[in-house]
Symmetry: D3
Subunit: 265 residues, 6 copies
């Protein structure tokens, strides 16, 4: 690839991927509204508000792949979600349509299905059950991506990230954790696949404990290598096992199912 | 019921329902941004832009049921859809949450699944395949309604309206048509059901030709009586049968699948 | 048929069927532990406790069809259910095995699936979710019948009766009601079918409101004719519509889901 | 339509349809290897062996619709089935490909699924379980039609005819019977549909007793009107009810499941 | 855990687990009607007939987890199964309800589905097909457990044990075998899970040959490590490969499908 | 086994298996119309045209297992496919029926489902979607085998071979490749299984990238060991990655979906 765009590159996930995906493209274009530090020789840095259509258009121009990590990634006020995750995503897809339809990996979320119980396996094509406004915005995003695929042929991987962090920090993450390395490997698979289509992919490592199965997307050839299980003993000590009735133990979305609607001021 | 709110009451569908649902409540509150004429004795008329949160809050106060027909109902510029169908719907659900969670009938659309072929039956829980920005906004609406149901207990009927018109005007509508009387009967079923939940209901009459089945929602006791078939002979004459390769004959969403993305100016 | 045995013939359902199925066999043998009145010319009356293996053996001898309505039909102490519905059913199937395997219609119950919600359609092969000890005993009965079918070829119709009464008396019964005439017609279908197998059949009339579908058992040729809908207006007046949160409105098993475990004294 | 070709027009089914479909096209071209009598003014008669590629090519030329009833329609020697149903069908599809791909209604058969039991509903997309060489040839035919659809866009209705006769003559036909009028109505639906695709359609009337459901093909708008049930009483007298263990009562394919492989001499 | 109760602790399986689960609780309470030998320092031994409600109540008091291996575990007279597996299980669940609802692992059995063929994969929620009175009693047990879960929140793991033995001793056990170590690991998973619910778990090792898949229960984090395959060569020598038509080769329940009903004397 | 017949033994696949399966039987009978070289001491060589019934009968006599690799294995003229794959297969099954029904492994093909897209997982019981006349002939073969199984008890493994070659030579084969060793191991499993039935088995190695899952056939105990992934880097260099729109990237059948119908001269 010539140029890979990473949006949301200043976030925790963006920073973790910045190094790991460097070899996927000749140039990596990094974007965020937060500070991105200094560009390495193979990097370009562009500050961009996703809600600004013209800026997004310029951002996408010249890229042949997009790792879209940008936008609001937790529950927040609807006005902020509206700008970044609804309007912002529309801007991104319009820009992609204008500039040769570079392939997109869209960071969707397990919070699209957060109200399923943890003892229910969820198929990738099961009805969505979002657990908050953030989750609803990701449902919107998947629907938008699907429409651009069917109508215009735009390919997107809809990666429903579980918990992509340095390591799991509670029992729920024994099931939802995806290691940085496994995510980086998935990114490579998504951009190397001769034909991508518009699949849902569950973003988790090869955890002993799990609710989701990627059998339907095995054509991508992704085999995650890490396993949250090696952290179990440590988590039993701290933070300890949640109560059986805690949202952390009951719902796939965990504590998000308890988040209130944030007040606009 | 004491007071039923009808949004979008000045539209074609709103006007057709205005008379037909008069006996469902003591007072019918009608709302739109367009002119609604003179209020009958049992009616209240309130002009309201759905994008105005405070106005929507006042609109919903005091109602114990909402027939939500408002918003953009065809493909349009994203800015307009954003205001009425995304922000507007959020405003409506927040207002409902603030005022006792009156039951809602949400006018969703077959354009949430418009890219299924006409020879594919579509289950109510099948993955959505919207055919444009309008369809995407209805996917958002269904996701939002579902979230308010799971999180707060807000009940909504997600009625995926086919074509609710005086009579069918092309071959596709032999399958998608819902008569005004059948819709009125459905509205009555939705508001009388002891428990509603948050079901998807296909909004079609008892047409000989059909792609959708409401067996999963038979607990509502709705049995449509009309049948588009009686208009077939007339439609064969005019406008005549579509070509086999026309979107009108191929896709459930018909010509919407061909709509371009509307340009913002 | 030469001789049809009806167990539980003194119960409300037994009495209603006694007249209606008279023409299905030359002789109708009636059994119960309660008084059965005087035998008509084509009738035989035999008092029998289902828990008494020898008595059941004599009861079944000479019959070529069994309408098994006997046993406990509501929530009760486990000791009583154990005797009549567990031991009693075993006795019945052993007697049938000893005497030529007369075809059996087993009065199973919707309480085998009582914990499904009323907005969930339940397939005949869905996992059972009994709502009390009575429901559990019917799960046992279906499993026992199935085993005798697979192991010995004993045919049984597992009729999950909704509410078989003179007329519906609450909103839940708008969905669960089976008229006496429709049940009598089903009995005729079961005993006339050249091959019966061991199907689950939902025992309901052709109600507008329903949760169950008999499409899988259409080979029996049963088309119920009655419809609880004609009683809706009357039920809206009295007893009136249940609260949305009442078990009567939420669960298929209705109030049974609230029954306590009965204490043995 | 300008010209409708009926193959196998001299068979019982062909003769029954010859009159009933006269108004579907300006000219009806009739073909068979047996005598077809005198052509009516709107008819053309052409004798043709389906195994003769050149003859079939001439037969199809100029037709814009084909009702393919020709070929062997019962169990027979493989050499005969090979010629008419395998080679003959290939010839027909090649001829159609050469001449503008006229739409085809292919008379497939319930014997593609004859080994399902009569108490098992069979979905249109369930694996085939043919009951003899004849049934296998129809599986071949459906596969061939499907391939021409996917590869070349050739549309075909795969009508799995149950028993299309004047009236049912045994108990199995209470479930499999399709009246001549209902078949004629189906033919009209198949040729009038703006888009046909390549659906499986179960060829049965609206019988009370049935194993198959056409819900997946409701887009064709076919609603059969007849019901074999009105013949039940008569069939109970003669030929009488089959034994429970008779193939007539056990398998959907009935006695075909017992047919031997016919010996070539 | 403070105190773990093991019923049926004197049986082969109980003895094998007695040592392996010692570290799961501070105290292990062992119960059986057969002799249990001498209690180790961390053990309590209580003789108990499961059919005796008062004794079972005392047995359960003070325990916070129950490994229920007790009851009849092979085909037997119904009177014995009735006492231990029907009445006994009811007694156990009533005692659990009275004493804080300790989590239960219920030793269910593959004989709940014994009449499935060995070439049919069986989903955990597939209809039960028990192969004898023993299997029927396990169907009862699963239904009872499910009811206590839905009605009272009692959690149970329904472990359908294949063949839990030292090593496989015939070809069928190449598919059904669960090693003692794998079972002990499963027990640990069941009691450590923050939320258990009421899942069906197939009790088998990671055998190359298998009919069942535990994907639906992967949230428990159990990964069995043993594999019956390493015994294949040995089994080919002795006892040798079964005939293709032997129940050992045909049915999942193996020879149980041939067991007669045991005679009461 | 006493004698294993390999048809098509002179083809690439036949030659690769000839050595690998030598230890499965005392005698290996090799057949083809092409030259088979010199027979080893444990081998018999018989030249045979599958279209010649008498010759096939003699070929099969005395064999207790058949590895049927014979017939046309690529797209070709229908006359050739008719002789070898339709008539030839019928001859083979008739011969097997006449000679004790030796178990058969039938080399079916992924081209029975070639028109599924590469991003669609295909279940073994999904409707067939052949991609040419060759694929249609394999659909015929599977239907024929199924019929002989149901009617006469003839067991066959329907192995839908992906690409069984020395190593993968293009990107599509990263998903379809089966190594020779894995196929040899599958052959051993098929012939050693106490009960085989008539399963579909996907013939692929344990590739990272895959579209098919053999979970339904895990009772055979086959665990392939090879993985096409180790060839990916090499294939990226040559022949390089296919275009996203190439049949090689889009359809499971790859370039076969583009093959024309071959002309008979």
């Amino acid at each position: 690839m010539k140029r890979l765009l990473i949006t949301g590159a200043a976030g925790a996930l963006g920073r973790a991927m910045r190094a790991r995906v460097a070899d996927l493209a000749e140039v990596v274009r990094l974007s965020d509204i937060a500070d991105l530090g200094t560009a390495a020789p193979h990097e370009e840095i562009i500050s961009c508000d996703l809600g600004d259509a013209a800026a997004v258009d310029r951002l996408v121009e010249g890229c042949d792949a997009i790792l879209h990590l940008g936008g609001i990634s937790v529950e927040d006020k609807f006005s902020k979600i509206l700008n970044a995750n609804l309007l912002g995503l529309y801007n991104l897809y319009e820009a992609a349509r204008a500039h040769g339809q570079p392939r997109i990996l869209f960071a969707s979320s397990n919070h699209t299905v957060g109200f399923y119980r943890q003892d229910e396996p969820v198929a990738a094509d099961a009805p969505m059950r979002p657990d908050g406004l953030y989750g609803v915005s990701k449902c919107f995003g998947e629907a938008l991506a699907r429409m651009y695929f069917e109508k215009f042929g735009q390919e997107t991987a809809l990666v429903r990230i579980g918990s992509c962090t340095e390591k799991p920090t509670n029992h729920r993450m024994l099931s939802t954790w995806m290691s940085y390395d496994d995510f980086a490997a998935l990114i490579a698979c998504v951009f190397r696949a001769p034909m991508l289509g518009c699949p849902v992919v569950w973003g988790i490592s090869d955890n002993d404990s799990r609710w989701w199965d990627n059998g339907h997307a095995a054509y991508l050839g992704w085999r995650p290598r890490d396993n949250a299980e090696r952290f179990r003993a440590e988590l039993e000590v701290s933070p300890g096992r949640p109560e059986a009735s805690s949202p952390l133990a009951v719902y796939q979305g965990g504590m998000f199912t308890r988040d209130p609607i944030f007040t606009e001021e």
